[in-house]
């Protein structure tokens, strides 16, 4: 029996150590591609950790967004960096100078470690030289708040006085049966609406910087094309299922949207393009749909004497479903557009 009780502990220990090891390897790897792959692995292990903590929703989100979408974005950024590296050799030296200036400016308050120590300097990933003594000093300085934080976390009392009971008590009136969805869309719907706006804002920021890289119509890989023909419909189905199931079990718009976004990435990689006549206002409309539906729904109820974002009894379920569907479409489109990078 004792060995059975020890098993969960052993699993936790292995997960925690793997997490730390992966994090360290990802940070210390000089090869950026390797670092990105390690980061994706870290996201997957982190998902398992959330499962162990009984937070299946966060586990789904972590694996879909933290590992999946972020990993794809990092790989896309890496590919762009490598293709642009040769062209901008001059610009990068200029930048290096700037970064060195910055690190020296940061080092100024610490007058003792002069840049004369550069003899034993090591080159870090950004290419700027930093004396080893300075690095150790920085590490020690960072250790102080870290140790303090660890001590405070150790002091925290358990069980935490959270809001779980209150959420459970009001769940019935929220229109959904899953507490996480109830918090996200009803109790704290105002936050979620603005988080959707943040996601859209990230895309606006990317689009304001440059237009999308012009991918030539390169030869399609037959295997990839066949795979995407098989997978894309399946992913759309999974996304629809995740939205529906979100009402009473882990799932919901963000997870479904990320699956939809992944389908978009896959289609893009296998050579599919959005038809040119749809890249104008139809695409923009899909991108803003989630925020528009959410915001208008929240405002329209005010005309019926309800508070802002307060759904009348009985109307909450259909209202939340409409919002989730619109949000899923927008999140999927935004994530795929972020992967492509740059305005059409």
């Amino acid at each position: 029996m004792a060995s059975l009780n020890l098993l969960p502990l052993a699993i936790d220990l292995v997960l925690a150590l793997t997490l730390l090891w992966l994090a360290w390897r990802a940070l210390s790897s000089p090869d950026l591609f390797r670092a990105v792959v390690l980061f994706i692995a870290l996201g997957l292990v982190l998902g398992l950790v959330w499962v162990r903590l009984d937070a299946v929703d966060i586990a789904l989100a972590e694996i879909a967004l933290g590992a999946g979408v972020t990993g794809a974005l990092l790989l896309a950024a890496l590919a762009k960096l490598q293709s642009a590296e040769a062209e901008t050799a001059d610009a990068s030296t200029e930048q290096e100078g700037d970064w060195q200036g910055c690190s020296q400016a940061l080092a100024e308050p610490d007058a003792k470690s002069k840049p004369t120590l550069t003899a034993s300097a090591t080159m870090d990933a950004t290419g700027s030289a930093m004396p080893i003594a300075l690095r150790i000093l920085l590490a020690l300085l960072l250790l102080v708040p870290l140790a303090g934080l660890g001590w405070v976390v150790w002091q925290l009392w358990l069980p935490a006085p959270g809001l779980t009971d209150l959420v459970a008590a009001r769940l019935e009136a929220s229109g959904v049966a899953h507490p996480v969805t109830a918090v996200l869309l009803n109790f704290r719907g105002y936050d979620t609406l603005l988080e959707l706006a943040v996601l859209l804002l990230a895309l606006l920021g990317v689009w304001s910087l440059s237009s999308a890289p012009h991918l030539g119509d390169e030869e399609q890989e037959p295997a990839l094309a066949a795979l995407s023909r098989l997978l894309a419909p399946l992913m759309i189905l999974v996304a629809a299922y995740l939205v529906w199931v979100g009402a009473h079990a882990p799932g919901g718009a963000f997870q479904a949207g990320s699956v939809l976004g992944a389908a978009g990435v896959l289609l893009r990689l296998s050579g599919w393009r959005v038809p040119p006549r749809a890249t104008g206002w139809p695409l923009r409309l899909v991108l803003v749909l989630g925020v528009v539906v959410f915001a208008c729904m929240g405002l329209v109820v005010m005309a019926f004497g309800q508070p802002l974002l307060g759904y009348p009894p009985g109307w909450a379920k259909p209202a939340l479903l409409a919002i989730e569907l619109a949000a899923t479409l927008s999140i999927g489109a935004i994530l795929a557009a972020l992967f492509i990078g740059g305005r059409p």
């Binding site: 405070v152 002091q155 959270g162 804002l201 990230a202 920021g205 309800q306 508070p307 802002l308």
Partner: protein, 509 residues
């Protein structure tokens, strides 16, 4: 006349009008100028409606979605939020009137300016209305991302570098703030500011949360020595964006810091809550001196104005060591006045720098070449803004500094008073440096390009606002007192000082 809308509806309009307008500008870029100006007017209208409601009915607290805190999110508005909302609406309208002419030649920049700026406005209004720590984090995210994207708008290498650094700083600050929120939620089971204020006890959790949140927000407010990102970002952004960043964005994180301090931490016993105000005052004094000296040394106009912001941020923190004692609360009112005056004046100065940049094609101070004669409206705007920054009567900056000096003198804090005075003299130095070059002819006469009247007048009107703020004190105090954001009621603490200021500003013209 009965109010057409309730306070809750005005508050909803303040967040949703800019949000929906941003989406509309994104959908229909061709109509963006008109949509943006329409939204700016509506927001000013809604702000005035909210202010009127506050003056009539007292502070506002409404639940979003009928779920009162702690389960749901509450929106609140009191005097402190109202004055900042009012400043945001005025500066926002001014910049919105400036932008169409400024971006007329850069249609691609204009296309992205409007949605990004309106989302920034959403975040600002939402932040001033929020009473929920996590909701405030979402607002900070919206604010930081839109501000960084706006900084990069011109697309030059300097601007991209500065925007990237700004983004990192902003994310780090948000993360530190979020860490504090997580600690507080774990410890006390709510993220509502009022409930937390009742439950919070001195101890390790509160101290750690205080440190994390203050560090994060200082980074975003660019208090010395965390100012390193400010000058490149504010100096390399397009002029309307610089005006927004300097006048409004910096104030938002300062407001949040002030709010947290007043609602949660100022009442706590212990070593940290007593030491921190002194430290903040010290850093503020350093910021005033360092920023002013750096501004004096600059050769480019926009960088000079940006370093002036570093200095002016310092003034806002001088209040921390001055409060907490009997009769100390007058210092909060002083820095609020300074923040408002700085918002209007700095927006006017950056907008006139944008006008000069369009006129001359550069912003080298030494080559301004009789700009005063050739571009009188714009130069007047710059000078009037400078008058308020220096703190000369009858400007809004003068009232703020007067009250700050009053607070420092009554408590015998001669050092702080000296810093206020020296900062004013240094500010006079850098403003007159620009004026001097603007009146002198350079050896090679320079060609000037025509500057649209909309650009000149929007800057000038904002500058007038900064000056007129000096006469607005009698209307300003009752509004600021709605809901008594500074705990001690006005009646007890500083009526004499305020009456004195009223007399001075009336006598000044």
């Amino acid at each position: 006349m009965p109010m057409p809308l309730s306070g809750a509806e005005w508050a909803a309009a303040l967040v949703f009008v800019p949000l929906l307008a941003a989406l509309a500008c994104f959908l229909v870029p061709r109509a963006a100028n008109w949509l943006g100006l329409l939204a700016a007017t509506l927001i000013l209208f809604a702000t005035l409606g909210l202010v009127r409601g506050l003056l009539g009915d007292g502070p506002l607290r409404v639940a979003v979605g009928a779920w009162a805190a702690p389960l749901g999110i509450d929106l609140v508005a009191d005097g402190l939020s109202a004055v900042l909302l009012l400043m945001t609406a005025l500066v926002g309208l001014g910049v919105s009137a400036f932008a169409p002419a400024y971006f007329a030649e850069h249609s691609e920049q204009r296309r992205w300016f409007w949605p990004l700026w309106l989302l920034l406005w959403t975040a600002l209004n939402g932040l001033y209305l929020a009473a929920d720590l996590f909701n405030l984090y979402v607002m900070l995210e919206l604010l930081g991302l839109s501000a960084a994207a706006l900084t990069a708008l011109s697309g030059s290498a300097t601007a991209l570098n500065a925007a990237m650094r700004y983004l990192f700083v902003s994310l780090l600050g948000s993360a530190a703030y979020l860490l504090g929120v997580a600690l507080l939620y774990h410890g006390y089971g709510t993220v509502d500011m009022v409930l937390l204020g009742e439950r919070l006890e001195a101890g390790a959790v509160a101290s750690a949360a205080l440190l994390a949140m203050v560090a994060g927000l200082l980074l975003k407010t660019a208090l010395w020595p965390f100012h390193f990102w400010l000058a490149p970002a504010h100096g390399s952004a397009p002029a309307p964006v610089s005006a927004l960043l300097s006048a409004l964005v910096i104030k938002a994180s300062f407001y949040l810091l002030l709010r947290l301090w007043l609602a949660l931490f100022s009442g706590l016993a212990g070593l940290l809550p007593t030491l921190l105000p002194e430290l903040l005052g010290l850093l503020g004094a350093a910021a005033i001196l360092w920023g002013s000296v750096q501004a004096l040394r600059q050769r480019r106009l926009k960088l000079l104005i940006a370093y002036s912001t570093v200095a002016q941020v310092g003034y806002l923190f001088l209040a921390f060591p001055l409060t907490g004692v009997q009769a100390g609360e007058i210092a909060w009112r002083a820095v609020l006045y300074l923040a408002l005056a700085h918002g209007l004046a700095k927006a006017a100065m950056f907008l006139s720098a944008g006008g000069l940049l369009r006129f001359a094609g550069h912003d080298r101070i030494a080559d301004l070449d009789r700009a005063a004669q050739r571009l009188p409206l714009t130069l007047t705007a710059f000078v009037l803004g400078g008058v308020s920054i220096m703190g000369l009567p009858p400007s809004g900056g003068f009232i703020g500094k007067w009250l700050l000096l009053e607070a420092a003198f009554t408590q015998g804090r001669w050092g702080l008073a000296l810093v206020v005075l020296v900062g004013g003299i240094l500010a006079a130095g850098y403003v007159f440096k620009v004026i001097g070059y603007a009146f002198t002819a350079t050896k090679i006469a320079q060609e000037g390009e025509a500057v649209p009247l909309a650009m000149q007048w929007s800057a000038l009107l904002l500058a007038f606002g900064a000056i007129l703020l000096g006469f607005a004190a009698p209307w300003f105090w009752p509004l600021l007192e709605v809901g008594a954001p500074f705990a001690a009621p006005l009646a007890e603490i500083g009526t004499e000082a305020i009456a004195e200021v009223g007399a001075v500003s009336e006598a000044a013209p």
